[in-house]
Subunit: 296 residues, 2 copies
């Protein structure tokens, strides 16, 4: 069996780079796989939930711009996806254009997150430009062929793929710019081939840090309603590496919470903690226990 | 003195509607004011921090799409702005186009938040369209004059202002769609005219709920580091109405937290709580105590 991997396309996006990194890891253990680009993150996640593909690779969080909220919201909604592993991709943007000097550039296209990550550089070196959002960093490249005064912010790899010149690199304001991705499968299905198991087991070796991602809502208007769930972990010295609130979309001020703890939900003391946690929450979901995969 | 109020422009944005609502409130107490549109939220906040205007009105949070992260990040960075009041604006989108029927529409332009808020409606009624992000709901209207197959998602007021027909209304997926705005001034300056004081005092009447907005970072990699700050309020039965995490932009997994508590920082027991809170945080900032202003 060849494993199919959905990601945000088209070719040249950072999503594709993350999916390729995972695909390479699979081939190292003798497992073939191929990539399936989708036009949006929602469609990428729907594809795996409906069984069109075996796996999906989606961005969760960037070190500068924060959570990718569409990923969290869709994960909560779909309710049947399970995180297999996480990987962190360094992000390094270039200014890509057919213009020969900065002064010729009049417009810069890119994904809003990429524009935001280069704000300082743009203001310093091309203060004259109009910034225009695009659906992906790669989509931004479409504008360059027909307009020499247009530039796009995307990866060096995207510039190579589309045979376009890089005018400046790197242009991100913060050098330590990286994005965390999740690799997900449909929770109720088993991928027949054991290669996935194998690679997951290789990552989940003793001594490696294991994360568990959870989502929940708490009773409304109760002082300290969020403190009790957090105390469950604090009193057991379980570190919480992340907390993120999202609107329930029911009314303003009603939230759901996503947390990552540094613990494996298969361990008994974590199971007990989770059972206690459930008594303080209204809706509770567990998205999986997994380790961070090194990229090489 | 006439009070100047910065907001995200151009005319017809929801930011302008919020600024107008506040301006009307000022005129009810005999205070004249005028609006100053800025091309981005960052520039709106910079304008007030640099004394170009007296006040700024900016979106903080939408009931469907969540935090307006650029507002939180800029507020943390500028460090000198003080929240005067908050107001909640109902958001109701229309599909605006020169096309005569849905089938003619090929592209839909709007601010990404507005596109996201109408996703279900778009998929149901105009599944054939390509969705293209714009910098503001009003900017999206620019495309309509030259292209009958283009549509924009914006307010009814924007359609009236630009004399464009509304093809469908309302088209937001969730009926209870609203955005909270903050009215801010520079913390160290006094607005000479007492009308602002007057209106703030009118809002801050006894019995009205007062919120205090805080931001802080906690020591890294300490289990339960976030629990202690939250316990400070929980043990005093002070309700926390909101918590939001944002990346510090230093490295992945390092966060700062924004919380809103339902309490007035001028009251003694709250002062004591805040002093205790400071002992558990690395960087601590207070953005103001304020009440919610009713719009009428």
């Amino acid at each position: 069996m060849t494993i199919s991997i959905a990601h945000l396309g088209p070719a040249g996006t950072y999503g594709e780079m993350a999916a390729m990194a995972f695909s390479n890891k699979l081939s190292q253990v003798g497992q073939q796989s191929f990539l399936c680009p989708y036009p949006s993150i929602t469609q990428t996640l729907w594809a795996v939930s409906q069984g069109q593909v075996n796996l999906a690779v989606v961005p969760v969080e960037n070190s500068i711009e924060g959570s990718v909220t569409i990923t969290l919201d869709t994960l909560w909604q779909l309710d049947i996806l399970e995180i297999q592993t996480a990987l962190v991709l360094p992000i390094s943007h270039g200014l890509i254009s057919l213009a020969s000097i900065f002064e010729e550039v009049k417009t810069v296209y890119s994904h809003p997150q990429a524009l935001a990550q280069c704000q300082g550089w743009l203001e310093k070196f091309v203060p004259q430009v109009q910034q225009i959002p695009a659906n992906s960093t790669t989509e931004a490249l479409e504008y360059l062929e027909r307009d020499r005064s247009a530039a796009a912010i995307a990866s060096q790899r995207a510039a190579e793929l589309y045979k376009l010149p890089v005018l400046a690199y790197p242009i991100n304001d913060y050098p330590d710019n990286c994005t965390r991705f999740w690799v997900l499968k449909k929770g109720c299905t088993e991928i027949e081939n054991s290669a996935l198991e194998l690679i997951i087991n290789t990552i989940d070796k003793p001594g490696n840090l294991v994360f568990t991602s959870l989502g929940f809502t708490v009773p409304a208007n109760v002082p300290g309603a969020l403190v009790k769930p957090l105390q469950v972990f604090a009193k057991r010295e379980i570190n919480m590496s992340r907390i993120e609130s999202r609107p329930t979309k029911l009314y303003l001020g009603d939230y759901l919470f996503f947390i990552d703890i540094e613990a494996n939900s298969n361990h008994n003391y974590v199971r007990v903690a989770i059972e206690e946690l459930k008594t303080y929450t209204k809706v509770f979901k567990i998205f999986g226990s997994y380790s961070l995969m090194a990229i090489n």
